[in-house]
Symmetry: C2
Subunit: 248 residues, 2 copies
């Protein structure tokens, strides 16, 4: 039976798809029970804004399914995506009253939200949560720094190849195909969202994707379905070491 208000079925934490990767990953069952008491699910449709920058935050939470983006906007409308929130990623900053960024659902998403005050209280008492949050924050910091190199020093073509590599790598861990060297995935982002992520215009994104297709680095079916015949080649195009990581 669905929860009428949120349209989301209540979950048992033990069966939660992000149980072992989210902020609650290290929690014992008694700790999960406590979290259960302050949690609720919310669903957002693709395109919906979850949080506006500057708004008061009364919750923090985890992305359970779907993809959301974290963006900053300048007064004149220029926008830069500063984070891509995948399942298990954490939203909100304990100890901060207002949101620093816009959070927008890129696909339909489900979030597991915790009321902020009780969550913060619990963090003080529960090292398992604070430890995991530190670990996740350090990972995000690494990802942000990786992205600074992409934004600051890579060409448009390399930027696109970098983004495709990241998406491919993520999907590979889910849709692993040991039999094929070929990688296949759907782009979860519009050309405009890709442009906002990469610090480009959507026209440049489109042109570079066309160029990569023409050069045989990728193949497209429709606008969103991508095939990578040779991952090593894509990584070379991204300007990265062709080794290391999942595809080594």
């Amino acid at each position: 039976m669905l929860n009428e208000r949120t349209g989301v079925p209540p979950h048992d934490c033990e069966e939660c798809p992000i149980r072992h990767r989210a902020v609650c990953a290290r929690c014992e069952s008694d700790e999960l029970e406590q979290l259960d008491g302050i949690k609720y699910y919310r669903k957002y449709e693709a395109g919906q804004t979850v949080i506006w920058s500057g708004d008061r935050m009364d919750f923090v939470g985890s992305v359970v399914s779907g993809i959301a983006s974290l963006t900053q906007t300048m007064e004149d409308g220029r926008t830069q995506m500063v984070g891509l929130l995948l399942p298990s990623d954490f939203v909100g900053r304990p100890g901060r009253a207002t949101a620093a960024y816009d959070v927008v659902a890129t696909t339909d998403i489900v979030m597991c939200c915790f009321r902020k005050a009780p969550f913060e209280e619990m963090m003080v008492r529960t090292p398992h949560i604070a430890q995991r949050l530190l670990e996740m924050t350090l990972d995000e910091l690494d990802a942000a720094r990786e992205w600074m190199l992409v934004l600051g020093r890579k060409t448009a073509r390399e930027k696109i190849a970098s983004l495709l590599s990241i998406i491919a790598r993520r999907d590979a861990s889910v849709n692993a195909r040991p039999d094929k060297s070929e990688i296949v995935f759907d782009l979860p982002l519009t050309r405009e969202a890709m442009a906002d992520y990469l610090g480009l215009t959507l026209e440049t994104v489109s042109r570079q994707i066309s160029a990569l297709r023409k050069d045989g680095v990728i193949a497209l079916e429709g606008k969103r379905h991508v095939t990578v015949p040779d991952m090593t080649r894509l990584l070379e195009e991204a300007g990265d070491d062709a080794d290391g990581g999942v595809f080594a």
Copy 2:
């Protein structure tokens, strides 16, 4: 008396200039004593590399004085600075064996180092350290995201103005001059380091600084000594909201 090996005078933590901002900020005196047992000071000269990316890390630590930079380099030599380490900033990642970035002393620096294994052990037992580290990491993540907007969406002129604003803001908290609206500081970075921070070439950095000088946004004495007659103007040039923060 100086320590012969490191050339650094031993400090009492209570008198440490970064006592209340570094990773040890929340520690009680008994905790400081424990830290004291695993700490040592090291000094590096401007230009010296503190850590090479990929190297084994046997310590973590705090910058006590001076400025260091965190950089990433691509195979073909393109480099991007991904962090500027100011006094009290933390170096190294607990739980990681090798360095992810190059750390280079931009000015002469003194570091307070902790042997890694005992520090990690202590973190588990000492919530005060883990809490403070989480807070600092969240701040760094915010700074990194701020910088992603600069790298991805700002023009060369705005980038320079942004960097000057940040340095000015930092110095303002130290050399506050309530009597003057004028802000004066020394650039701690070469043109090349500025370029690496901003994702520009050093020629473009030089040209934009000249342009800002010609337009009266800043004044220069020598190459490094900067005067900002009107901070609001500089913030406008940076593309930021002219209000909020220290200079509101």
